[in-house]
């Protein structure tokens, strides 16, 4: 009797933990909106960049003066008017979505539980082993895939708390209207051209993150992981080993 009463309870508990969504609805929705907005920002950002593919440092810089970096893109490609329209529309979508995500992450245990690495895991040996396994294209086990490892946690924290705020601030630093109200968004980066240059490099860092992110999704099982980010549920035992 005692055994039969015990077993269903285990079964219920087991199914509960399987039923609890791997990603909350807010995380899933904001993830996909941000993904679409990022594509818009990337396309329009490239369109804006190729209008003047040179980077400078300080307040000013122009074609006939000295530059910091000349990107290997010809000037002939010229300027596309729609670039800034699309860039700003996508930027607003991404910023407002980011505000919802950040509020959710702070009000729920999401940041603390899912992103903050435990002290125990924050060791170079462990970090190096994870990166080494990933470089050798070693698939994570089902158990490992249930939670973020320390490298994932650090990468997500860097994107959410460093790269995203930095790309917004450097973007604002290029705005003459915003710089007239909050001069430090421009002077803090060393000038309008410095803000533009940093904006470019942060965008490159975000793009690299997206590449590695997609590669890791492929490694862990593309349709499975993408399905989890859409429905919130893991496919459980059907996961390839």
């Amino acid at each position: 009797m005692a055994e039969t009463a015990y077993l269903p309870r285990v079964a219920i508990r087991g199914s509960e933990s399987l039923d609890a969504p791997r990603h909350s609805a807010v995380v899933r929705i904001t993830h996909w909106i941000t993904a679409f907005a990022f594509v818009g920002l990337l396309i329009s950002g490239i369109a804006i960049l190729i209008a003047h593919p040179r980077l400078y440092w300080g307040e000013t810089g122009a074609r006939d003066g000295p530059s910091l970096i000349d990107l290997p893109i010809p000037f002939m490609i010229g300027h596309s008017g729609w670039g800034r329209y699309l860039h700003f529309l996508s930027a607003w979508v991404s910023v407002l979505t980011g505000v919802v995500y950040a509020a959710h992450g702070l009000l729920t245990p999401h940041f603390r539980k899912d992103l903050l690495p435990g002290k125990r895991n924050f060791r170079w040996g462990r970090i190096w082993r994870i990166v080494w396994d990933e470089m050798r294209w070693k698939r994570p086990t089902e158990e490992e895939a249930l939670t973020y490892n320390v490298v994932q946690r650090l990468a997500y924290l860097a994107v959410v708390f460093v790269l995203f705020p930095l790309i917004i601030l450097t973007g604002l630093g290029m705005s003459p209207a915003i710089a007239s109200v909050v001069p430090i968004v421009r002077s803090g980066f060393g000038g309008q051209q410095s803000a533009r240059t940093i904006h470019f490099f942060v965008a490159v860092a975000l793009l690299l993150f997206v590449f590695v992110h997609i590669a890791m999704v492929c490694l862990a099982g593309f349709s499975n992981r993408v399905g989890t980010m859409i429905t919130g549920r893991t496919a459980g035992r059907k996961e390839p080993s």
Partner: protein, 266 residues
């Protein structure tokens, strides 16, 4: 237990959605009333433009000042975009040293007027050294010498209904009878920028009492809180109006047709 939570969730979501929709409707009405909607507010891109313009206008108003630099900050090279107009009227004015040039100011003003270059130069002159960036990405610092637009507007007496100041240069067909057919680099600004103390009608640059040809001689406006493209060159006519819907495509600037947004405070 879980049913109760889901019902509570449903009710709160419903209330939040209703409040959100109601809030949006109120926001749209207020935005229109306080002039927070740009002329190029149509289509999907118009949504982004409206949010940008409204946010920046609420933050900047009339009192936020662009940084003023010192003489030693002035860029050695002041690049220009585009060539001076090649049409006959403009070339004739250039040949005559702009002695026959007159700036027409009319529209919603008490005293429509014409100003010669000499008359403008007799008005109190100001010198501003500020940063100017192009939409493309390059930038420079230069000194601009001229009379504040607000001074000239006070002379002609702006009427209360005024919402925009429209600038037409010699690179537009500003003298077209039908305003809908106007093309080229005409542009407009709202009254917050028109009255802004750093907005000047510049006739000189970098210590000299005249503008180099490519920089908009004989007169251009300088709007330091927006990208350089807003600072219309080769001015012929300034018109004060309450709507820009009847000019060109009705989007507030000729550049919008080519995909450049009207508000350029970015």
């Amino acid at each position: 237990m879980s049913e109760r939570i889901s019902r509570r969730k449903l009710i709160t979501t419903g209330i939040a959605a209703a409040a959100g929709a109601g809030g949006l409707a109120v926001a749209a009405r207020l935005a229109d009333r306080y002039g927070l909607i740009p002329p190029d507010d149509g289509g999907i891109y118009g949504v982004g433009e409206t949010v940008t313009y409204a946010t920046q206008r609420l933050l900047t108003g009339r009192h936020a000042m662009a940084r003023e630099y010192t003489r030693s900050d002035i860029s050695r090279i002041a690049p220009v975009k585009g060539e001076p107009p090649e049409n006959e009227i403009y070339q004739r004015l250039v040949a005559g040293g702009f002695a026959d040039w007159r700036l027409k100011i009319d529209g919603l003003v008490a005293r429509p007027s014409f100003f010669s270059l000499a008359e403008l130069k007799r008005l109190p002159a100001e010198r501003h050294i500020y940063h100017q960036a192009c939409e493309e990405g390059w930038s420079f610092i230069a000194e601009w010498i001229g009379v504040p637009l607000s001074h000239v507007l006070n002379q002609v007496g702006v009427l209360q209904q005024a919402k925009y100041v429209v600038f037409y240069g010699f690179d537009t067909n500003f003298d077209a009878g039908d305003k809908h057919t106007i093309k080229g680099k005409w542009n407009s600004i709202d009254m917050a920028d028109a009255w802004h103390p750093q907005t000047v009608l510049a006739y000189g640059m970098n210590g000299r009492d005249e503008l180099p040809p490519g920089h908009g001689a004989p007169l251009r406006v300088r709007i330091p809180r927006q990208l350089g493209g807003k600072s219309t060159k080769y001015l012929a006519w300034i018109n004060v109006t309450d709507t820009v819907k009847d000019i060109g495509q009705g989007w507030g600037a000729g550049g919008v047709e080519r995909g450049f947004s009207w508000y350029a405070g970015i």
